[in-house]
């Protein structure tokens, strides 16, 4: 680390503050403020609010949340780990294709899959209609609009998190030890359960905690499938009952759930990284599955891929085409363009600010000699684990207060009312997006900055380059790829975001995701399909990047070269 100061540094015994740590503390403060505001609710005694909440629907919300977490957790772990082991350890028709294609369902947001399933499998949908036509009206079909339906849908869209991480762990570490276990007399199955799985456990739990965070923040799926959890409950209380205090108290409870998921992740995170960075064993000799066993494996993978990806994609395309034929395209395009423009703007600004903050933090951690900078950067990342509804409310409260105070003051001093400057504009919306998604940008910026060896910087300095020149000629060109990746990730996250947008969007800023939400509420599947398809296509871009890096791991030398040139 370089020294930019003119004075001689003295040895110190307590952490010092420098320019970078002040910037980092500032960003962390802004990022933590909304979370702190909701957390504070737990300390405020509100017995009548609680009495009222218990009397109404809090019990239901809590029960449903727990059911959803347990169900989706179990579902994703079974699907994700099972499929990862299947494609890693066995050979069967289509195995090489499924190896990457099984990550594709990531591109379909849960709420999109939920409404496609609703339209397809609900009482009035084509499947049940056909069944009634064949077997008569008494035929039983499980209701998709239920807890089971929500668990099913979210397991299908979220299992790739577990799949991705356990698959990486299987590939990178476990295989060599698997063979050792076999030579020590374990059968394939024993070796899997006694050696491979325990070694992959940190990755598995890391994937699981991401799944739980997603399940906690979701409002679309549970609303569409009528299985109100805490997140959805907050909106029902906020919009339906207009009860601010009750909504805030529920948000505080939801925050506790989020902390539990976060704790799960933190407890295993360090070890997960260890596993993923460990030396790569050479590939496992895959056992060929022939005959009906191979067929079963192929069918299983295909079934998952078909229900979680192929079905929704083709249904969305069909609806979109039908819709475009039915309606006046100009009319539809005008509405589409309005939503797309709002989305582009919000996601663009959100991504730009997130990347800027991420670069400041990552560069600060890199340059600062104060441990406070690292600590602050870590604190600033907390938002990714916090449900959107919590962040949304946490942003709304201080901004509303600011608006009130501002109006009071200007009225007292000049007799003017400037109106709702913060809550009436996109300020709050952008603020909340950045709080929630900055971590995504940070991890990709930091990853590319870490690959820049400190000696490169030192070499540049001794060659006469000032710190500013080093930033612009060495670091920024080298981390450009990471910044771009981070921007794309945040952009797509904002694009499909629902709870924050629902809470904070000012008039005229309906995003594509919100358009889906409104159309589904009115059962306008066709109209919901067009924005939903747009979101899925954008998301495919991200999933494509993830698939590329996940499969690149096996072509490491080439990747290194590309990284060296900074053009990944």
């Amino acid at each position: 680390m370089l020294i930019g100061r003119k004075q001689l540094a003295k040895s110190w015994s307590f952490p010092s503050i420098d320019r970078w740590s002040i910037i980092a503390l500032l960003i962390a403060g802004l990022a933590l403020l909304p979370i702190a505001i909701i957390l504070r609710m737990l300390l405020l005694p509100a017995p009548d609010v609680w009495q009222h909440l218990w009397a109404t629907r809090l019990g239901e919300f809590l029960t449903n949340t727990v059911i959803l977490l347990v169900g989706v957790g179990t579902g994703t772990v079974l699907l994700g780990t099972g499929l990862a082991w299947l494609v890693t350890a066995y050979r069967f028709p289509g195995q090489r294709l499924f190896d990457w294609a099984l990550m594709l369902p990531m591109a379909v947001p849960s709420y999109v899959l939920a409404f496609v399933f609703m339209a397809t499998f609900d009482y009035t949908g084509p499947v049940q209609k056909a069944l009634r036509d064949w077997f008569g009206s008494s035929v039983w079909f499980p209701s998709i609009r239920s807890g089971g339906g929500a668990v099913f849908v979210m397991s299908l869209t979220l299992y790739p998190y577990v799949y991705l991480l356990t698959r990486a762990a299987f590939h990178e570490h476990a295989l060599g030890t698997f063979e050792v276990a076999r030579t020590l007399g374990a059968t394939r199955l024993q070796a899997f359960f006694r050696v491979v799985l325990p070694m992959a456990r940190p990755s598995l739990v890391a994937g699981l905690s991401l799944v739980l965070m997603e399940a906690l923040t979701d409002v679309g799926t549970v609303r569409f499938l009528n299985f109100p959890t805490l997140s959805d409950g907050i909106f029902r209380i906020w919009h339906g009952m207009m009860d601010r205090d009750a909504a805030l108290q529920s948000a505080a409870v939801l925050l506790l759930f989020a902390f539990a998921a976060l704790l799960l992740e933190r407890l295993t995170r360090g070890r997960a990284r260890y596993v993923q960075e460990g030396s790569r064993g050479h590939g496992l000799v895959q056992v060929p599955l022939t005959g009906w066993r191979g067929l079963m494996a192929t069918l299983l993978c295909f079934f998952v891929l078909a229900t979680a990806f192929l079905l929704p994609i083709s249904q969305l395309i069909l609806w979109s085409v039908y819709e475009l034929q039915q309606r006046m395209p100009e009319d539809l395009l005008a509405v589409y363009w309005r939503h797309a423009r709002a989305t582009l703007m919000l996601a663009g600004i959100g991504a730009a600010i997130s990347v800027l903050a991420a670069v400041l933090l990552a560069y600060g951690v890199h340059l600062s000699r104060s441990p406070i900078t690292r600590l602050a950067a870590r604190g600033a990342m907390l938002g990714y684990a916090i449900p959107g509804a919590v962040i949304g409310l946490g942003v709304l409260i201080p901004l509303a207060w600011l608006d009130h105070t501002l109006n009071d003051l200007t009225y007292q001093w000049w007799g003017v009312l400037p109106g709702l400057i913060f809550t009436g504009s996109i300020t709050g919306l952008i603020y909340a997006y950045v709080v929630r998604f900055m971590a995504v940008a940070y991890s990709s910026v930091e990853a590319s900055l870490e690959k820049v060896s400190p000696s490169i910087e030192a070499a540049a300095r001794t060659l006469g380059a000032s710190p500013v020149r080093v930033l612009f000629h060495i670091h920024l060109p080298l981390i450009r790829a990471g910044m771009l990746t981070g921007a794309v990730l945040v952009f797509v996250d904002v694009m499909k975001e629902l709870p924050i947008t629902l809470l904070l969007r000012p008039f005229g800023y309906d995003t594509l995701a919100l358009w889906v939400w409104q159309n589904v509420a009115e059962s306008l599947w066709g109209e919901a399909a067009i924005p939903a398809l747009t979101i899925v296509v954008a998301d495919l871009l991200v999933v494509g990047m993830i698939i590329r890096s996940a499969t690149l791991q096996r072509r490491a030398p080439m990747e290194r070269e590309e990284l060296a040139r900074g053009d990944v």
Partner: protein, 368 residues
Amino acid sequence: MHLSSEPVALQLHRVTRRYGKTVAVNNISLEVAQGEILVIVGPSGCGKTTLLRLVAGLDVQDEGSIRIQNRVVSGDGVFVPPEKRRVGLVFQDHALFPHMTIARNVAFGLHRLHKAEIKQRVYEMLDMVQLAHMANRYPHELSGGERQRVALARALAPKPDILLLDEPFSSLDAGLRMAMREHIQRLLKGINVTTFFVTHDQEEALLLGDRVAVMNRGQIEQVGTPEQVFHQPATYFVAEFFGYTAFISGHVTSAGLETELGFLPQRLSLSSGSEVNILVRPDDLTVYPDENGTAYIARVGFQGMHCMYQVALPSGRTIYSLMPHTYVYAPGTRVRVELRPGHDLVCFTNERAISTGVSQVTDHHFAH
């Protein structure tokens, strides 16, 4: 302690750097003459790289001052940042800028010159390291040795006052390392650049240095020519650092030294009856197989042209003996050991050398 005929290019005065409770560099004073190659050698963690970083301005000492060309660059309330110090730096990992071509890498430090001048200087430097044909390649397209030469050309392009080399050869494989050492030594001597070279490799230090400074635990144990640090080590540490060192105990008499390997007619300025430890290197001894010998071969290390014998003495001490490979004795062979050094041996009390006719090395000025 410098080449008396040349002016001082780099001067460190009582430099100390601490990290918390660790003292990485402890009160070091050094001078490097214009055009001299000074090698700092020591085990990893001895503080040699910290010392280099202090000179480069990549770190700041807690006490003491550093002067380059008689200008204070650090200390006495002054701190000149690395970009204004006129030092060139070559790292072990080469630290080439991966997003720039070779030519642009070399041109990086020349941004204050005119375009035509830059171009001319870049090709001059690339010619010097024989890589002009690679000018438009990217670093990842080059071999390790080529990257090393580019890094050197880049560091030398702005005509630095001091060239700093931080283990520049340790990332190269053994064969290439030998060739690169020779190539670079010739090159540095050709342009007469003052060089501050840090390495952990004692062979490299002896080969390349005009003078060698042996560092241990943040302190300099000895500075001298390669011959001096090898043949007249000032401390146990320096003696042991250059390998295959053994000590036998000696009893001082008025005529010389009595040892378990016989009498040495070597006089010391110590009173009779004192005990000393005598440094014995593998080339000072010869072993003969002898059934009545009191010593025996403990281990044999076959080194190609030679065999290195580890010999156990009756006192329990172990000595080394280097013999041509025409004699191969099996472990366990009884031997007689003859000590015929042909020169005075270095004697130690309290792990420090005592003068043996030759005055102590560190007090001396040497013309090279």
